[in-house]
Amino acid sequence: MRVAAYFARRLATALFTLLSLILLTFILYWVTPSTPASFVYPHSQALSNYQIAHANHLLGLDRPKTTQFFSYLWRLLHGDFGHTWASVQLIDNNRLVSAPIRPLLFEQTGETLSIVLGGALIVVLLAVPLGTFSGTRVGTLGDRLVSWSTLVGICTHPLVLGSLLATYLGAQHLNWLPSGGYCPLRPPPAASGPAACGGLRDWSLHMILPWITFALLYLALYTRMVRASVADTLHEDFVRTARAKGASELRVLRAHVVPSATLRVLTMVGMEIGTAIGICIYIETAFGFQGLGRAAVFAMGGALSSIDLPETLGIVTMITLIVVVGNLVVDLLYAILDPRAGRETSRGRTKSLVGGVF
């Protein structure tokens, strides 16, 4: 029962986070000077007052702000993400036609999640052995070598690293792996010919380099975390007891030290999934993906002056949903793996330093 109450509370927090971020997006949009009319009249050099008013009316921006907010929420509740502004076309001077956001958003989410989830798996697989190696010999040369060489991954920017990998391992030099583009996991329809790309094999081949890029970036952080956890746990009483009972060092590590370190890593992965999506901007760019991160930058106009509000809102909603679900999954894992969880909230936990910053 306590667990149920705990998850109810977590769900309420999640909902609160989602609502506040949508509201924050609206507020940021309202306070930022932008000219949505330029989406409707892309060819106008100087927009007339009529054009601006007309465009605002067609885009629904002349409604009261509360109406805009709540009608967006209402439609979102029905799974309707609205239509993009970037693809808007004015028909007969009185209505707008544009592409719906939902199918596009789901595709982008698929690409980004492919990078993040696969990359996170590789990070865990590499960081746990490396961190255990370091943590069992803190202060030695081997420990330092590991921590310095993993720092190379952080200091080489993911866009640079990705581009280097794509250039040298990809089509231009060694041609070992595809140097870019995304292949959906779903097999292509049989009618689309042999050149069509899709299915598990193509997908994983295209994902290898992005995964490596992602993993190298996060390796330093997670190796350090495993290292700290292992070094701490080695001084615990239960480890001493295990040793006293004659357990071999390998068994002590396997049975008592590594599991708790892995648990901490899993927690961090769940908490930093949002940060990882931000990093994906660069990985997607380097490999020519069309994922959430890149879409977000383009929807916000980047260096341009106009913000595509519905697209931005859709992306914000999606990212927040991913983050919230990620956190919930981690809490669930915790509840299953660590019987002490559920009593204490996750309030004390916070993102890692690099995570909080990127």
Partner: protein, 327 residues
């Protein structure tokens, strides 16, 4: 601290980096006879055929004019043209000196890094102390707010802010000491990275305010303000030093990220980020040309050296001030 060999090494390295980026650019351009922004078209050995930027230690014809044949093809410069030395090679199509730009870029990058930390601390210390010391409603509001913001990718906020607010802040600059865009970058990075130290301070004060010496200070009639200032804030110094050293490093990396989105410091101002962005393009036009390996190696190596030494210093400070922590 004295026995911590690696931390001493890291401090020496950092001191060298600081001196090199503060004075190195001026000295180098004085010795070599050309400045950071002077283009040397012949630093592209391909003569415009392709981006074959010269590598390290090349003597480049000292002219900003290219000689053309009757078909307007670029040809070798006339015999007897004096040469000038490019110690680390050229920086790309424009053919500027990589070494001088690297040194000058270090100053800009470090300014952004350090400035960001200062701004973040200026925000975090008052807000974090209010939330941690008084608790209650203030704490609830601050905590919910930072939690909500931190749930979302920081980078996207930063892109939004630098793209929309940055241009109006760009005007704040001061000669070569504070190039255009550095102030806005430092300010915005500082604002958006302040959530982390805010939470750190809050957490620490939540513990500290219940200690006996705070009770004692209350008993002798110390005001909240005095207790905060005299008794509690000094305890935050180690945490902030440890955080600050790492944050300078991450801010430098963040500046690189912003350069790649094309919203950071002016593209003409050398920073380690803009040098990498010049080599690899921004996210709007990635890989405009295939850069030479040197254009990637030198800025990355500079960043690596700085980050590793800051990281080591942060570790060393923690070990010196918190001897009870084993890692």
């Amino acid at each position: 601290m004295k026995r911590d060999r690696w931390t001493v090494v890291a401090m020496v390295v950092l001191a060298i980096i600081l001196v090199a980026s503060l004075a190195g650019g001026t000295i180098a351009s004085h010795l070599l006879g050309h400045g950071p922004d002077e283009p040397f078209p012949y630093a592209n050995a391909g003569y415009g055929v392709g981006p074959h930027t010269v590598g390290p230690w090349t003597h480049v014809p000292n002219t900003s004019q290219t000689s053309l044949d009757s078909y307007d093809n670029v040809i070798a410069p006339p015999k007897g043209t004096p040469t000038t030395l490019f110690v680390l090679g050229g920086d790309g199509l424009l053919g500027r000196d990589e070494l001088i730009r690297l040194l000058d870029g270090g100053r800009t990058s470090l300014e952004v890094g350090l400035g960001g930390v200062i701004v973040a601390l200026l925000i975090a210390i008052p807000i974090g102390s209010l939330a941690g010391y008084f608790g209650g409603a203030v704490d609830a509001v601050v905590s919910r707010f930072t939690e909500t913001i931190m749930a979302f990718p920081m980078l996207l906020f930063l892109v939004f802010a630098t793209a929309k607010v940055g241009p109006s802040l760009r005007g704040i600059h001061h000669g070569t000491l504070l190039p255009m865009g550095v102030f806005s970058d430092a300010l915005l990075i500082g604002i958006f990275t302040s959530f982390y130290p805010t939470r750190l301070i809050r957490q620490q004060l939540l513990v500290l305010r219940n200690t006996e010496w705070v009770d004692a200070a209350h008993m002798v009639g110390g005001s909240d303000w005095r207790i905060l200032r005299k008794d509690l804030l000094p305890h935050l110094v180690p945490t902030m030093l440890i955080w600050g050293a790492i944050a300078v490093a991450t801010n430098i990396l963040l500046e690189v990220s912003l350069s790649f989105i094309g919203v950071g410091v002016e593209a003409s101002t050398p920073t380690w980020g803009s040098m990498l962005a010049q080599a690899w393009g921004t996210i709007y036009s990635p890989r405009a040309q295939e850069p030479t390996i040197w254009q990637t190696v030198f800025p990355t190596a500079a960043i690596l050296l700085t980050v590793v030494s800051l990281n080591q210093i942060s570790e060393g400070v923690r070990r010196a001030l918190e001897p009870w922590s084993r890692r």
